[in-house]
Symmetry: C2
Subunit: 344 residues, 2 copies
């Protein structure tokens, strides 16, 4: 094929030849090692430019055993991944941090356990230096997979097992939930219900625990499990109103669910916050600022959490856990803040 694009890419060998040096020296220059005399550096640089040389990553990876790429694995059907702004923000943070460290983000979408085998192969195949895993549900085997593949791993959200060698980044879900409920209480509300997230996720459990910390004697029927979607939030709200027509406050475990609840309340003619105060969780700006009325909520800095996850992983990669020492890296829990808008 005379297709120019099919001219084989130049190798380091070619660069070395052109610069009249050995492959080793060429390699040193390309990798910015110290101790190559200036004129040689110059010649090699020039050869690189003239030839349009770019190192072959596979060859490099084969010897250095790492490849400047990190996998982001989402234990959630694509539908939710692309639909819930939460993920977008987290990935944005990760992506920024990774880019700044010249590392590539490889997004691994899993449409259910069926894809896990593929993911396992990918990780074990040494495509990436580490893995970031999100949105784990109870008993998810993804972390085990990553561990078996020998991948440094950071988990988004507290895992449901405790194990000091597992790194994660989470926000203070429980504390945030307490703040939310106290805010409602401060508003004089006394009949407060909770729309929980899926209880197979620790974030949901922790927020529920926070709710109970403040209101330990709440009737269990005042707690309804949602699924982190607007529809789920609306359904839960309907159920709650059906059970307790005299509610005056609701703490929803996510803004997205709160938005569904708000929509439902409006269609039923409830006034928010007059009749019923609603508070969310997340401060997903694209949601909370656009509900009617705008949503009072508990802010967690999702993008920052993404950045922190990436940073932690990068560190874990460059400084692999030393079996002899106490692990030098540790998980991170970020603070939350009450953001008051109009709904409570």
């Amino acid at each position: 094929m005379s297709d120019p694009s099919f001219a084989p890419r130049p190798t380091l060998e070619a660069v070395a030849a052109r610069a009249g040096v050995s492959r080793a020296t060429a390699s040193r220059v390309v990798n910015g090692s110290e101790g190559v005399r200036a004129p040689l550096v110059e010649r090699v640089r020039q050869a690189v430019d003239e030839l349009g040389y770019v190192p072959n990553q596979a060859a490099r990876t084969l010897v250095t055993r790492h490849n400047g790429a990190v996998a982001v694995i989402v234990a959630e059907p694509e539908t939710r991944f692309f639909t819930d702004p939460f993920f977008a923000q987290q990935v944005r943070g990760i992506s920024k941090e990774l880019t700044a460290h010249d590392s590539q983000l490889v997004l691994l979408l899993t449409e259910g356990v069926a894809d896990y085998e593929r993911v396992g192969r990918y990780l074990a195949g040494g495509h990436v230096d580490g893995a970031l895993i999100f949105s784990l549900h109870a008993d998810d085997s993804l972390p085990a997979l990553a561990r078996k593949a020998g991948m440094p791993t950071v988990i988004g959200g507290r895992p449901d097992w405790s194990d000091s060698s597992t790194l994660y980044v989470d926000c203070d879900n429980r504390g945030g939930a307490r703040d939310a409920v106290r805010h409602l209480l401060g508003l004089g509300r006394r009949r407060i219900a909770h729309i929980a997230g899926p209880l197979d996720q620790t974030a949901s459990v922790d927020r529920l625990d926070g709710f109970r910390d403040v209101l330990p004697d709440t009737d269990p029927r005042m707690i309804v499990e949602g699924d982190f979607t607007p529809e789920g939030g609306a359904r839960a709200m309907t159920e709650l109103l059906h059970r307790f027509p005299d509610l005056d406050g609701v703490f929803a475990a996510s803004d997205v669910m709160a938005s569904g609840a708000l929509r439902m309340l409006r269609t039923r003619g409830w006034r928010v916050p007059e009749d019923l105060a609603v508070i969310g969780f997340d401060d997903m700006v694209s949601v909370a600022e656009w509900t009617d009325p705008p949503l009072t909520t508990i802010r967690q800095d999702i993008e920052e959490m993404g950045r922190l996850m990436a940073r932690l992983l990068l560190r874990a990669i460059e400084r692999p856990a030393d079996p002899e020492n106490v692990p030098s890296l540790s998980s991170i829990v970020t603070p939350t803040h009450l953001i008051v808008r109009a709904s409570a």
Copy 2:
């Protein structure tokens, strides 16, 4: 840690030794080559299982020169990528097709031309077998980059140059736009304006051309350029109403912009479709079904287009363009369909 994950991964050598065969034979079995006697196949398989062997992809890539991964490059700031449901749908289609062919999707986010150097390095580094590029603006150098790296490439949307060797997948933007305008005309509307997309993108230009095909004598001031965001749609609508208070129809070049226009119209007390009929483009279900009133629009099957892009690329990879022959692969233009809801 006595971390088991630090046991080095088994190599083909180890498998061969355990099975009592040569590395070559082990390789044949692993790769499913014909012509290895059954008992040997069995022994190798068993060794693979026992050792938990997974081929090292870097080593494999080094010799086969391809690596079962495809890059998806989005020429758009992350903000829009994660915000506009268009991308999500397209990626979903791509991801499905790729997964079905056991190929990995590597998402390369670019936050502007500054990142292009990184992307170029990545492509030339041979990390991936091909590239899918989206959302090109005029004079974007991404395709040139990919070509220089010798990457088979498929572009999402018609590129702004013509060149039969460039593969792309697009929908019939111009025909769809004509249908939209004719629908408005069929409703008896006579003062029809157009909210265009950014005119440095061919999709916008083609839709505008379709508009003009049907309404060649339209006052140029009835055409306002938006930016494919809801805010842009709202701004354009405001401007249009300011210029022509007697409008009775609007064709917006995207559902997302139409939703912004609708929101603006509602706040100003316009009734849709009574006072003003609005039609969009895309049939982004998550948008069009939820506007008030639900949006009449021109449907393009975005997910399917994603699938087609991936399929085309996969074919281009396995059957590299032969300069001697006429290219055996060709671009694809998919049909559009009018979807009538309530807004027009």
